[in-house]
């Protein structure tokens, strides 16, 4: 078997047994990137020299008695996550040559455990989008059909995992950006609870919903990565304190439960109404049937404010985006024009020339929403409806353990198919935005195919109950093989 195809569990087992080295594993991944990425364009930066150096050090650490699950495991990180000494561009021209002077907390945590950073993956510029077409450096292609989008905004990370360029990848999820591409590419994607993993060192998009998480080949692997990257961080005041956090091994313990008998899963009717393609509906129903066979109970429920989630999200997000992107002026770093006289002119030209179309759209929309005379009608009202959505979702967990919905109403669409209509693109988040607004954890898991394109199911947990959705997903994957299927060879 090609080493790059291993899961974290398999690779770490081989490393622990001394059957393979991290250098061999890292070379296999780098070789795979060279082999297929010209067609897929998932990676923006590959740091071969640094990766092999880290792999060597990991092998030395293992010789010296260290034995962690992530020691020597190669991974890729979305390019809006700061990596010291390696370019971090956010797929934007304005940061084209930006090299972060520090590591994001989650990168630091992985490095301490000896994971090997292979490079950085493509995304929609500043994570604005659901197709990875908004990248200033060109779109990423779906490995199941090169003419289709991989979803987004963590499209590069999802493609890299689906095509075995790495053992796992990191993404960020603001309104669906881990779950959506995970579904389109047939991999597992976990959006943790807001506050579970540190945002320090992420290039901020919507600070009140941004959260980093793993894209992996199995649910079990998602648990292993989560265990490493979660926890309180003094550099991010919105991380949850340790005394409220899960114990170190809680993720693993949750995967050891013998069965899911008696688990109560809610099916919100609003997520199954018109608009879902028949193939998606049929496949989701098969997944429900499989979970019933495993002993789960299904309960029909209603979340009447679901239909407002995208509207709330596309008021709050541009408002926060316009504030967060105000820092990019090309003075301390980033794209900067030469021929200008005054500071004012420099601001206008650097920002006008450095930001892409979607970033500009969100800055203008956000500035409008926050401007005098519109703030109450849009922003204040959206925050109030956000509370209604959140309370409604939290309340439902009094009667169920988790919720099950499709991740997306359809399979991956064609490249260029929706990029002229921003509203249509925003509606891609219809099943995903509510979870982000409420800060809940959710995981997308592959449950089948339609015309050889993957379909994902979303499991949503109550706040900080990642263990429940991981447990259900893990049991599902133990009796199914959708997550093991690979795209047909590209070369």
């Amino acid at each position: 078997m090609d080493l790059n195809k291993y899961t974290i569990k398999e690779a770490s087992g081989k490393l622990k047994a001394g059957e393979i080295s991290s250098v061999e594993l890292t070379k296999a991944c780098l070789g795979r990137i060279k082999e297929v990425d010209e067609k897929l364009k998932a990676c923006l930066t590959v740091c071969e020299v640094e990766a092999l150096d880290m792999a060597k050090r990991a092998d030395e650490r293992r010789k010296n008695g260290e034995n962690g699950d992530l020691l020597g495991i190669p991974f890729l990180a979305k390019d809006n996550i700061m990596t010291r000494g390696i370019k971090t561009t956010a797929a934007s021209r304005i940061l084209e040559n930006y090299i972060a002077p520090f590591d994001a907390t989650i990168i630091k945590k992985l490095k301490i455990r000896g994971a090997v950073l292979l490079g950085k993956t493509n995304l929609d510029e500043f994570a604005h989008g659901a197709s990875t077409e908004n990248s200033a450096f060109g779109p990423t292609h779906n490995p199941w059909d090169l003419k289709r989008v991989p979803g987004g905004s963590s499209g590069g990370s999802a493609v890299a995992v689906a095509s075995d360029m790495c053992i796992f990848a990191l993404g960020t999820d603001t309104g669906g950006s881990i779950r959506h591409p995970a579904a389109y590419c047939g991999v597992t994607g976990l959006k943790p609870s807001y506050g579970r993993s540190s945002r320090f060192g992420l290039i901020a998009m919507t600070s009140s919903t941004d959260v980093p998480g793993p894209l992996t080949k199995t649910v079990e692997d998602a648990g292993i990565v989560m265990e490493a990257i979660s926890g309180p961080d003094k550099k991010d005041a919105t991380t949850i304190k340790q005394d409220n956090s899960f114990s170190e091994n809680e993720y693993k313990q949750s995967l050891k439960k013998e069965n899911i008998k008696g688990t109560r899963i809610g099916l919100p009717m609003e997520y199954f109404e018109a608009g879902i393609s028949e193939d998606v509906r049929k496949t989701i129903n098969e997944a429900i049937q499989k979970l019933k066979e495993l002993g789960a109970e299904f309960i029909d429920i209603s979340l009447p404010h679901t239909k407002y989630a995208v509207s709330v999200y596309y008021i709050i997000t541009p408002a926060e985006v316009s504030s967060n992107l105000a820092r990019f002026d090309g003075i301390r770093y980033g794209f900067s024009v030469e021929q200008v006289e005054t500071l004012q002119e420099l601001y206008f030209k650097n920002r006008g020339g450095g930001f892409g179309a979607e970033a500009k759209r969100r800055i203008i929309l956000g500035t409008y929403i926050l401007s005098s005379g519109h703030f109450d009608a849009y922003y204040k009202q959206a925050q109030k409806v956000r509370i209604k959505i959140t309370e409604e979702m939290i309340d439902i967990f009094n009667s169920v353990d988790c919720l099950l919905t499709p991740t997306s109403p359809h399979t991956a669409f064609l490249l260029g198919g929706q990029d002229k209509d921003p509203l249509k693109m925003y509606l891609e988040d219809v099943f995903l935005a509510g979870v982000s607004l409420a800060g809940l954890p959710a995981i997308s898991i592959p449950v089948g195919f339609s015309n050889n394109l993957p379909i994902g199911v979303q499991l949503i947990g109550n706040k900080f109950n990642e263990n429940k959705i991981l447990n259900i997903g893990h049991h599902y994957q133990m009796v199914t093989d959708h997550h093991l299927k690979k795209p047909k060879p590209l070369v």
Partner: protein, 96 residues
Amino acid sequence: MELTNEQIKYISSLAKLNLNEEEINIYKSQLSNILGYVNQLSEINTVDVNETINSLDFDYVLREDVVEDWNENEKKETLGLAPKLDGGQIMVRKIL
């Protein structure tokens, strides 16, 4: 909800963002469309809802506001990102 060219120009000046005529026209129609959609929120009665700025209902992690020194290399790397430097300081264009 129809935005005008003047409104888009005014907003882009607030956001310090150069836009050409073509962009102004495209954004005008796209943003009018988006605002038309999100206007559905006005139909919800929120009189009974308290305002809040986030959905956090757990204990924050706080720290003392202490300055952490960077080593010379880190300072050099960070300043090296600026397009124009003069004697270790970042140069800006004239303000007046």
